[in-house]
Amino acid sequence: MSEIRRRDPRREWIARNRLHPEHLSVLAEQGVGAASEWLGPNGVVRKNPHAIGFIGPNGVKRIDRSGAQQGGQAAAEGTRAAQDSRRNVIIEAPAFLVAVVPELSGGRLSGHDKDLLGLARHLADADPEHPGAVLAVVFGEHKEDAFGEAGIDRLLHLDDDAYVGFAPEARLAALSAVERELAPRHWLLPDSPLGGADLGRRLALRLGERPATGVWQIEADGEAPLGWRCTARGAAESLDIQRPLPRVALALAECAEPVDETRHAAEPLSLAEAIPSALSRIEDLGQVAVDPAGVALAEAEFIVSGGNGVKDWDGFHHAAKVLGATEGASRVAVDDGFMARDRQVGATGTWVTARVYLAVGISGAIQHLQGIQSCDKVVTINLDPGCDMIKRADLAVIGDSAEILAALVAKVEQQRGGQRDAA
C-alpha cells in the first residue's frame, strides 16, 4: 500500500459535526468512535470534549482533567454500563435462607411477587458479611424467565399434577418437606386471595407459628427474636399492628421496592427426599363457566363497550354474547336508553380494570378515558381516525363497527366450530 494518506474532507467534516445524521456512523468507520484528540488539517490538535469524561454517580457527566482517566475508554465503559447496569450476584454459601412462595398468577411473577422478592432481598442482604439466599418455591408450570432479575438465588420448581388448581393440602405437604430439609429462617408469602393468603395461613399453623398478616413495612430491631419488627394491617384495614417479625409473614403489595440493581443466579434446586403424597379431602372439579353478564363490571376481565357509534344494538349484544364478554357502555349510550345505567363506564359510572377493553363506537371523552385508566389492553373500533380513544388504544380499527363485529363473530364461531369438529 502507498504511504500517502488519503483524506476525505467531507467525512472529516461529518466527523466534526455532531449534529450530522451520519456523524456516529462516520466516527465508527474511522475507528475513533470515542477519539477525544486528533491532529487537525492545519496541524493543530483538536479535542472533542463530548467523547471524554464519564457518567458520575448522580447521572451527571464528569470530565477528569488530571489525566488519571483516559477519556475515550471511560466513555465507552459508561455506555456499556448503561446497557447492562445490573450487577451479577452469586451467593455460594448462604448463611440462611429466606423462602418465598410467589403466587405466579398467569404463570408469571406479578407485581406483588416482585415487591415480595424485594422484601426478601432486604431481609437476606441486611448483613453484607453473611448474606442469606432467597429461595423461591414455584408450583406447577410457569412462563417466567426472569427469576434471576427478580432477586431469586435458589429456585425450587415443583412440577407435578398434584399441584394443579386448588390443592392446598398437596402444596402444604411440599412446603412442609421444604421446611424439614432446608429450614429457612423466614417464610414470605403474598397476602393475595389467589396465592398466599390461604396457603400462608395453613403453612404458619402447620409450623406452629403465629404469622403476621397484611405486613406492609419492616424495620430492623435488635430486640426482636429474628432481628426485625414489622407493621401489619389489622381489623379490616383500620389498625396498624407493630410487632416483632415472626417466621412466617404474609405481605401486602408494595411492601418493598422490587429488585432492580442486581441479577441473581436462580440456581435450580431439588429436594433430596420425596415429598409424601397427602391424602386430599378437597377435590377440584375445575372452573365453572360464569355468565359474563352477571360479573360485576368493575372486576370483569373482558369488556365490550358500546357508545354513540353503535347503530346495530342487536348485533352488539350478540357479539358480546359470542365473545363471552361483559357489556359496558359510554354515557351517551346510557342516556339514549340503549343500555342500563349500571353498565356505564367512566368517571360517573364504574371504573373498570379489564384486561381487554373493546370500545365500539366510543370517541373517548376524558371522563370515559378516566374510567378505563387501569385496563391493560384497549381495542377500539371507530369511524373517526382523529378521536381521543385512538390515542389511548393499543389497537384501533377504523371502519364500520357493525361490519367488523359481525366479521369478528363469524371468525370466533368458525374457530369454535372447527374445534368441535376436531374434538
Binding site: I55, G59, V60, K61, A82, G106, G165, E169, P193, A197, R201, R202, L205, R210, P211, T213, A232, G234, A235, A236, E237, S238, L239, D240, I241, Q242, E257, D260, R281, I282, D284, L285, G286, Q287, V288, V290, V295, E299, A300, E301, L323, G324, V356, K377, V378, I381, P385, I390, K391, L395, A396, I398, G399, I404, L405, A406, A407, L408, A410, K411
Partner: protein, 268 residues
C-alpha cells in the same frame, strides 16, 4: 319418594363487627353473609339445623351487635363468655369438638382486634378438618360430600368437592345478608356459658394504633444522563404506541382484534 338429601348440621361462627365509618359495633358483614349462606342451605336441605356461636365478652354494645344476627331468623345464640382480650380459638375448638357439626361457616376475617383471618385455619388445624376459603355457594350435600363454589378474583368461580365435616370461610362473594328484624332480635335468647380462657399474651404486647395512610409509591427514575432524566420527567403517561389500522376490510380488522384477544387469553 324417598328423600335423597338429608339435612346437615351447620354451625355459624359470628363476631362483633365494626362499622367502617362510625366505628360502632354491628353485625360483621362477612359473618352475616355466612349466616345467610347457612339459612339458604337450611331452605335447600330440609331437616338442616343452624346454630350460632360466638366467643367473647358480654357487654351492652356487643349484645346489640350479636342480636343483629338473631334478627335474621334464629331463636338462640350460644355465647361462650370470656374476658376481654382472651384467645377465642381454644374455647371454640373445644365447643365444636364436644358436639361436632358437619359444616362450620365463618367469615374470612374479623373487623376488630387482630383481624388476621387465622381463626378458620387454626380451627381446621386443631380439629383436623378440611378447609375451603372464599366460598360463594353450596350447591349440594350428598353422602357426606359437599359440592361448593369457590370465588376467584374477577368474578370467576371454581367447583370443589369437600368431604364433611369441614370448615368453610366466606368473604364478599357470598350472597348478601338479609335485613335484620328488630322484634325477633329482641325476643331471641342469648345462651351464655362462661368458659375459662387464657388471655392472649402476645397480642397484649403488640403496639396497636389507628391505621396510618400508606405512603404512595414514587416513580423512581434511574437514568444515566441528563437527557434520559429529562425524557422520563417530560414523558406522557400514555405513549402513542398503539397500532392503527385504517382502510382495511372488516375481515382484516376482525382478524387483528381476534389475534389480540387470543394473545391475552380472555376468550373462552
Amino acid at each position: 319418594m324417598r328423600p335423597e338429601q338429608q339435612g346437615v348440621e351447620v354451625a355459624v361462627l359470628v363476631s362483633v363487627g365494626r362499622h367502617p365509618i362510625t366505628g360502632r359495633a354491628r353485625r360483621a358483614d362477612q359473618d352475616a353473609r355466612g349466616l345467610e349462606l347457612a339459612l339458604g342451605l337450611e331452605r335447600q336441605l330440609p331437616g338442616s339445623r343452624v346454630r350460632l356461636l360466638h366467643a367473647g365478652p358480654r357487654g351492652e354494645e356487643s349484645e346489640a351487635a350479636l342480636r343483629g344476627y338473631l334478627g335474621m331468623g334464629l331463636d338462640t345464640l350460644t355465647l361462650l363468655e370470656q374476658a376481654e382480650g382472651s384467645d377465642a380459638i381454644p374455647a371454640l375448638a373445644e365447643h365444636l369438638a364436644a358436639a361436632p357439626p358437619q359444616l362450620v361457616i365463618t367469615g374470612a376475617r374479623a373487623e376488630r382486634g387482630e383481624g388476621s383471618g387465622l381463626l378458620p385455619y387454626a380451627l381446621a388445624e386443631r380439629l383436623g378438618w378440611p378447609l375451603v376459603n372464599g366460598l360463594a355457594a353450596v350447591e349440594k350435600v350428598e353422602n357426606g360430600v359437599a359440592t361448593v363454589l369457590q370465588a376467584l378474583p374477577r368474578g370467576q368461580r371454581r367447583r370443589l368437592e369437600v368431604r364433611l365435616p369441614a370448615i368453610v370461610s366466606v368473604d364478599g362473594a357470598a350472597p348478601e345478608a338479609r335485613q335484620s328484624a328488630f322484634g325477633p332480635a329482641r325476643r331471641a335468647e342469648l345462651e351464655a356459658t362462661p368458659v375459662v380462657a387464657e388471655p392472649d399474651q402476645e397480642l397484649a404486647q403488640w403496639q396497636l394504633s389507628p391505621a396510618r395512610k400508606r405512603p404512595k409509591r414514587l416513580k423512581i427514575v434511574k437514568a444515566a444522563s441528563a437527557r434520559d432524566r429529562f425524557k422520563a420527567a417530560a414523558a406522557k403517561a400514555e405513549g402513542g404506541s398503539g397500532q392503527v389500522l385504517e382502510g382495511v376490510s372488516a375481515e382484516q380488522g376482525a382478524e387483528a382484534i381476534l389475534k389480540l384477544i387470543e394473545a391475552e387469553g380472555v376468550l373462552r
